[in-house]
Subunit: 250 residues, 2 copies
């Protein structure tokens, strides 16, 4: 805060990262971890500047970048707010199947087959990329579009990461949407392949056994914690995944 000429800025030529990066990282961490939920009003530029002992410009650069990146939304006179999660992130978004179906003008319904809490098996641990044992919630359900099968879902939820899930019965609310609300910002890895429907799958999806299905497997991480694993099976020829791809700009 002092005026200077020949001064104190770079007194730490050590491995310290820049102030910019520190502020940026702190804010991201607050958002990604959920401590600052969507809609939360984060500190004003001036407050951040005071808090970190930097000029307003430095805080402003961070907030500007984060708002261009879509994490924040800024409104004059009101402040800066955590933005809603990756809505339609234009990439290979986390499908909100309910919204997807409704966007097609169809009725949405879903049915839960399996809901079971148990200690993670080896398979569960590998699917969730867990290193230490723990309890998981296993779910199996089907999504229906106007009473026709749309997508079969198998899911594992790491109860260590999302303990609240244990109290949900998911008989009326599908797990995908609920999880998005609980854990807004995430990192995901999708694996897409094409397989023939097995006996169970063909029955549930009302297609022939052996018919091509699109399988999306997804691992989800939040703040370095594995949250959930899902396997979504779509009747192959009825469903297409669309992914857009633009140079990273603003």
């Amino acid at each position: 805060m002092r005026h200077k000429i020949s001064t104190d800025k770079a007194n730490k030529p050590e491995h310290a990262q820049s102030l910019h990066d520190r502020i940026m990282g702190d804010i991201q961490s607050h958002i990604v971890s959920g401590r600052w939920a969507p809609g939360f009003r984060i500190p004003f530029e001036t407050d951040l500047a005071a808090q970190y002992g930097c000029s307003r410009m430095t805080a402003n650069k961070v907030l500007t970048q984060l708002s261009r990146a879509g994490l924040l939304e800024r409104k004059r006179k009101l402040g800066t707010f955590v933005k809603a999660p990756q809505a339609q992130s234009a990439v290979l978004e986390i499908h909100d199947i309910e919204r997807e179906i409704k966007a097609l003008g169809l009725d949405y319904e879903f049915q839960l087959f399996v809901r079971d809490v148990h200690d993670a098996t080896d398979t569960d641990m590998s699917r969730l990329s867990l290193e230490t044992p723990g309890q998981v919630l296993e779910l199996s359900c089907i999504h229906l579009a106007s009473e026709r099968p749309f997508c079969l879902e198998e899911r594992l939820i790491n109860l260590k990461a999302v303990p609240e899930a244990q109290n949900m019965d998911f008989s009326t609310e599908p797990p995908g949407g609920w999880l998005l609300k609980q854990v807004p910002w995430i990192e995901a890895e999708h694996t897409i392949s094409s397989v023939p429907a097995d006996c169970d799958e063909s029955r549930h999806l009302e297609i022939d056994e052996g018919a091509p299905c699109l399988v999306v497997e997804r691992r989800t991480r939040n703040d370095e914690r594995n949250v959930t694993w899902a396997r979504l099976i779509y009747p192959g020829q009825q469903h297409k995944l669309v992914a857009k791809f633009t140079p990273p700009i603003s």
Copy 2:
């Protein structure tokens, strides 16, 4: 460049966009259009500042953001360079099939079946999203990994967008890699589905007719021009698409 207090900066309260955005847009446009090819050394901060009549800070902010976005690479003392295209853009990248196969430790080879220049048919125009007629180059080839079929490719190239393609015979170089070099920065739309192999496909891919295949259809645009359409057919159970997904940060 004048010193001021009570001054000329905001003399254009008009709808003019900010200087920052203008510089940013200009640079992006140079890169996306290919006028500044990968590796090109763009003007120094100080030169840009002089050219646009702004302070070095303003130019710096633009270059910093573009380098965080991955479009530019900056090296002290050397300058700022246009970065190589979206290498492994971690999303659903433009697959460079040759590199993909070599990364698996397999030999890469490819065979061209069809090479034909003709006026765009209705199908061609719809695949390329063309509005006006024109000539297209149609290709059909197969990619082999250690002499085993890996992926079947059908492709259309809009000769109005890439006239140089007419002189290429693509008997030794696959079109995908060549196009990436010609048209580095692009916008793409992928559609992924799962279909049963038809007669031709099963023969070329050496799988059973009706076996599930992963089909990736891609439309590619550059600078608002439709460049190419491709349909890649993978034997479904042998191939998986992986897409990562991180919150947009730096």
